[in-house]
Amino acid sequence: MVTCPECESSVVPAGTPVIGEIVECGDCATELEIITLDPIRAALAPEIEEDWGE
């Protein structure tokens, strides 16, 4: 369970999370990136310019 840095809700990843996994906050829809596993922590997922086909 991680705390959303935006709205401070609790976010529970589905199944066993992996480093780098993107989870969405159910309350504010912010995308979080799992940064560490033990203890489990998350940060805002980076905005990435989507480059079609890169």
Binding site: G20, I22, P46, E50, D51, W52, G53, E54
Partner: protein, 265 residues
């Protein structure tokens, strides 16, 4: 330098590299300046198996699959392209009487790229941020080096990797490398050879080849199946950079280059 031809030869077993070299050599002997660009996925995969390095794919959110190039894979890419595929092509061209010089993006900053620090991708069905991938987008081409070699009657044989601003190698798509090169030298023709019968309207129908494929200036290309998406992106980049025309044609024919230039596809 007039009427430059850039040929991109795929790295799968289906594309006949000896036939490509023979055709390219014939064009060169006719006095046409030619640049050959190559990938080498079959050799990379084979060497990765021998070295025990897992071959993994990254699937981007828009569905495009690319090689997951961590540091170990980057080493394999470099070994296979510069140390196996390129010498083979040079030997084939030499057998056809052509003076060819092999280059990667690391040679005199031939292909400068910006590494993409983070990707969003699907790995094992999960959406993840990938930070250890060493691939990127080409931002510069040393056109002067290519011109120097072409003027000396030498045929450049070019492949990834490119070089990042920090001096490290960066993997890059070979089709898009060919497009960047074609744009930089203002090629009259960029020919992308593939293991299919050209661009197909229906991927299950080998006879549904499109005589002309229009690509929007932005956004997804009209055909994305079977690796054709990246080829069409590359074609767009080449055209926007000033390449005269782009042909996407069958590399499995006995005369892949000659036939494509003559209008077959």
């Amino acid at each position: 330098m007039r009427d430059i031809l850039v040929v991109k030869c795929g790295g799968t077993a289906a594309v006949r590299s000896a036939a490509v070299c023979a055709d390219v050599a014939a064009a060169r002997r006719d006095g046409r300046p030619v640049i050959l660009v190559h990938g080498g996925s079959a050799d990379i995969d084979r060497l990765a198996v021998r070295l025990g390095v897992p071959s993994r794919r990254l699937v981007s959110p828009d569905g495009v699959s690319t090689r997951y190039t961590d540091v170990e894979t980057l080493e394999v890419v470099q070994l296979a392209l510069a140390g196996a595929v390129k010498p083979r092509l040079l030997a084939e061209l030499r057998a056809c009487g052509v003076k060819a010089v092999g280059l990667t993006g690391l040679d005199a900053g031939l292909l400068v790229a910006t590494r993409k620090i983070a990707h969003r991708a699907l790995v094992g069905g999960r959406r993840v941020v990938v930070r250890d991938d060493h691939s990127g987008r080409i931002t510069g081409v040393n056109e002067e080096l290519l011109s120097t070699l072409l003027s000396a009657g030498v045929l450049p044989v070019v492949s990834p990797p490119a070089v990042a601003e920090d001096g490290r190698a960066v993997n890059t798509d070979a089709d898009r490398a060919a497009a960047a090169i074609a744009g930089a030298v203002r090629a009259s023709t960029l020919l992308l050879l593939t293991g299919a019968n050209g661009v197909l309207a229906d991927r299950d129908d080998e006879r549904s080849t499109l005589p002309v494929c229009r690509i929007p200036r932005q956004g997804p290309p009209p055909v994305v199946t079977g690796g054709m998406g990246i080829k069409l992106i590359a074609a767009r980049e080449a055209l926007l950079a000033g390449t005269g025309r782009v042909l996407i044609a069958d590399g499995r024919r006995p005369h892949p280059v000659r036939d494509a230039l003559a209008g077959a596809c």
